[in-house]
């Protein structure tokens, strides 16, 4: 019950932060009058003194972009049919044109699911490669159970995923959140950590780390 309340609280937080965070300036599709000066009185020399005014806009990946972007930033080369089927089945949940106003819980749930599948595929791909060939999980030993995954290895995956799919390094706060999520909260006796010697659990742990970053706002922003 406690965790259910926490989940609902976080969904509400996400909705509120989405409303407050995004800059809705310059709604897509608006345009000024299309009027051209075509007669002799036109002065085009004014263009040389035109001063550019930078305008930053916000957009999210739309339904055509979301899977391809996940593939692009992770370096995934073999996309499972299950992943493609999930994508096709969820397509209507993703943003149609990437507008800020389209961000909402159903969209993020769909992105989360898709990120999980993409990361599953990525883990399968990289587990079959030598460490020096991997883009994301170079520090993970897939032949061992998750009990062997330490903070340095988690930091390596975090750094690789952040630079690949966020385009930047993770902040100290973000690393702290990820560590807590992965290793568990000491206040809860680390009850929910990945543990044991099961190699399948190692793959789940790797998927967990990957999906958490791949499904985040920073990885889905245009």
């Amino acid at each position: 019950m406690k965790l259910l309340k926490l989940t609902l609280l976080l969904i509400s937080m996400m909705g509120l932060t989405a409303c407050g965070f995004f800059d809705n300036q310059n709604k897509l599709g608006s345009g000024s009058d299309e009027v051209f000066c075509t007669d002799a009185s036109c002065d085009t020399t004014g263009l040389s003194s035109y001063e550019a005014v930078p305008v930053e806009t916000f957009a999210v990946l739309n339904q055509n972009q979301v899977l391809k972007s996940m593939i692009s930033c992770t370096g995934l080369t073999n996309v499972d049919n299950a992943t493609r089927n999930l994508y096709e089945g969820s397509k209507n949940s993703f943003s149609l044109e990437g507008e800020a106003e389209s961000v909402g819980a159903p969209m993020w749930m769909a992105i989360t699911s898709l990120a999980g599948e993409v990361c599953d595929d990525l883990v399968a791909q990289e587990a079959g490669q030598s460490a020096d060939q991997r883009r994301i999980f170079s520090a993970i030993d897939f032949s061992q159970g998750p009990a062997n995954i330490n903070a340095l290895q988690v930091a390596s995956v975090t750094a690789n995923m952040a630079r690949s799919c966020w385009g930047r390094d993770a902040s100290s706060k973000e690393r702290e959140i990820i560590n807590t999520a992965f290793f568990g909260d000491p206040a809860d006796n680390n009850d929910d950590t990945f543990s044991g010697n099961n190699t399948q659990e190692t793959r789940r742990a790797a998927t967990f780390l990957c999906a958490g970053i791949l499904a985040s706002l920073s990885a889905n922003q245009m």
Partner: protein, 436 residues
């Protein structure tokens, strides 16, 4: 007891998994911290807006772009992501899709229209040929297994070929090939013959299927201006235009008053109906485009039941002029109205207001769809529209009201070579676009 504990642990782990992910969503989204330089940040933004996908900070292309940006070579930097397959598979595809369907949405399947625009962009074909060319782009059967390639069944009577290209999940930039010579379904409904009046994507199956189906072919004029000149009909409606070409099916006394016609209806119809004859030979019926003079014409006016225009698949319903019967519906509404007897047309949207809106620069009269496409493609309105669409695609916003000079600058630049790829590069290189 052990079993219950295990079940609870699995459940809580599932919730924790979700909660953790959601926590990351809500908090990581607005706590950016970066070791990247400004030039790298600019390069990343430029890449994802042009290619339509995110890319790793450590990709060599980013450092290459960042170096160029640091030297002020913004266009050279913006050119790099145009080599990404996703530039064609996402950005250009969506740019084309928005012009291709009635809903003007990016969520549209691959069609001959979209494939042709992608091909034009990839091959550096003059963008004006998008509305005048006698060619199209299709999937390469040498690269895609089991690709439906029947000219009639898979290209002219259905979208099967393009659906299969899309389903192959291969990169469009790699598998599209140019095919010279558009086609029509022949008189026997089974063979393909050379198109009699090609006009680029205007005469694509998908554009015709969207706008030449049913109706009176006025939609073809309206949507040509909407798609290729970015003009809503309400913008170019003008009651000062003479109503000499307004059809017989338009009531001159709606609700008993000619004033209503003069004040509103005439504004759209006077201009639109003057160009409608450009499409006087075509009717999209029973899944393919029929062309008067190709299919056997059945004169509906000789029937006792004037509302019954149903004909066989290899026939086209026409009137006594030989023009598709859709031009002759409801002619008793105003029998003194204009009779479309051929595909000769004269554009009356040439007032000073229209000149400022469209910027016509070539003949404003002609015969058929090819001449119509030429008129639109050579107008300044076409160039400005393509600039507007590219700007919205890359910059994720429309032009502000104080950006007329920027719009003019980009339009002038586009008209130097009419190259779509260079247009995207020019737009992405502008500081107004990415805010950097």
């Amino acid at each position: 007891m052990v079993t219950v504990t295990t079940r609870i642990t699995k459940q809580t782990r599932r919730f924790a998994y979700f909660a953790s992910l959601l926590a990351i969503f809500s908090m990581i989204g607005f706590s950016p911290a970066s070791a990247q330089t400004d030039a790298e940040k600019h390069a990343l933004a430029m890449y994802r807006r042009v290619a339509g996908v995110r890319i790793s900070l450590d990709d060599p292309k980013i450092s290459q772009m960042a170096s160029l940006i640091s030297q002020g070579q913004f266009e050279n930097a913006a050119a790099i992501p145009t080599a990404d397959v996703n530039f064609y598979g996402i950005t250009v595809k969506e740019f084309a899709a928005k012009m291709s369907n009635r809903e003007l949405t990016v969520s549209a399947p691959l069609t001959d229209f979209v494939a042709t625009v992608i091909g034009i962009t990839r091959d550096g074909v003059d963008a004006r040929e998008m509305l005048t060319g006698d060619f199209y782009y299709a999937g390469d059967s040498g690269q895609i297994n089991n690709l439906p390639m029947d000219e009639v069944d898979d290209f002219l009577k259905s979208n099967a070929h393009y659906e299969a290209v899309e389903a192959s999940n291969q990169e469009l930039v790699d598998v599209l090939v140019r095919v010279d010579g558009q086609k029509l379904v022949g008189a026997d409904a089974q063979s393909a013959i050379p198109h009699r009046d090609p006009a680029g994507v205007i005469t694509s199956r998908s554009f015709m299927a969207a706008h030449a189906i049913d109706g009176t072919n006025r939609r073809l004029v309206e949507y040509s201006m909407k798609s290729f000149a970015c003009m809503e009909i309400t913008e170019w409606a003008d009651t000062s235009v003479a109503d000499v070409f307004v059809g017989r099916d338009v009531d001159r006394f709606p609700e008993g008053s000619n004033n209503r016609f003069q004040a509103t209806c005439k504004g759209c119809h006077a201009s639109m109906d003057s160009m409608r004859p450009a499409f006087a030979m075509v009717d999209f019926d029973t899944e393919y485009l029929k062309y008067a003079g190709v299919q056997n014409g059945v004169n509906i006016e000789l029937r006792n039941d004037p509302d019954n225009d149903v004909v066989d698949e290899d026939e086209i319903a026409v009137d006594s002029q030989g023009v598709p019967f859709k031009f002759t519906r409801a002619t008793d509404t105003f029998p003194e109205g204009y009779i479309v007897a051929s595909n000769e047309w004269t554009n009356l949207a040439t007032t000073r207001k229209h000149e400022k809106l469209f910027g016509w620069r070539s003949a404003t009269s002609g015969v058929g769809m090819g001449d119509f496409g030429k008129m639109v493609s050579e107008s300044k309105g076409f160039s400005a529209c393509m600039v507007k669409r590219a700007f919205e695609s890359v910059c994720k916003r429309g032009f502000n009201s104080d950006e007329d000079a920027l719009k003019e600058l980009l339009t002038t630049k586009f008209e130097q070579d009419y190259d779509f790829k260079n247009l995207f590069i020019s737009v992405a290189a502008r500081p107004e676009c990415l805010g950097m």
